[in-house]
Symmetry: C2
Subunit: 132 residues, 2 copies
């Protein structure tokens, strides 16, 4: 619904919503290896490879072999990645704001609180990562 708006805008930064989702996972420290990320995001590991390839090419993340287990690739956000993520957070907020433009303040507060509770119940992150 409003995610389409968000998707269109992050595209200007060379990103798809799933790329942002991956960065959110990294930022919140919910996973570091690619397989963990795949599980958290609910997608196939092969897709994480493609997403990480792109993010690495953009300079948003770093891929480092875990010295303790050299099968694992440890992904970390770079400074550039954090900048990008901050920009995307702003885009998400403004998209939400536009979408809920004709709600009163109290209404929108009520709405976001209800949705947060539903998201939590669903085992999802409470943050704006519901746009994968």
């Amino acid at each position: 619904m409003a995610s389409d708006l968000f998707a269109a805008r992050v595209e200007a930064h060379g990103l798809k919503p799933k790329h942002v989702g991956l960065m959110v996972v990294l930022e919140t420290g919910r996973a570091s290896s690619q397989l963990e990320i795949a599980r958290v995001m609910g997608v196939a590991p092969s897709l994480v490879v493609a997403l990480a390839d792109h993010l690495e090419k953009l300079g948003a993340i770093q891929r480092v072999r875990d010295p303790a287990d050299r099968r694992r690739q440890v992904l970390t956000l770079t400074e550039r990645g954090r900048e990008l993520l901050a920009t995307c957070a702003e885009l998400a907020e403004s998209a939400d704001a536009e979408f809920a433009a004709d709600l009163t303040v109290t209404e929108s507060v009520v709405l976001t609180r209800l949705l947060d509770r539903l998201a939590a119940r669903q085992g999802l992150p409470t943050a704006p990562a519901d746009r994968l």
Copy 2:
């Protein structure tokens, strides 16, 4: 979110969410020719062809050339189609109910009213056709 649940369940009836969306459009009389349907649903006309083909094969709709303009195909719901649609409506409601299981009654009422207003503002049908 909850639409995934809905999608999985209508699949048991040989339908995708878009098929249900098309039937809702017919039921609400918002369009009859295929091109109108495409515009209302926001999809390409060629997709409507495929959706209608499938629904016709299931016996849910009828395709009749408009006598007044023989370029147009007029789609109408059959009795079987109305039955299917009723079943889908139940599925949608139960999926919603499960999804909002741990909300109080007043909370869920507030939520649906807010979402309805947002949908209306967006020019969407107020009905459960937000699952396209």
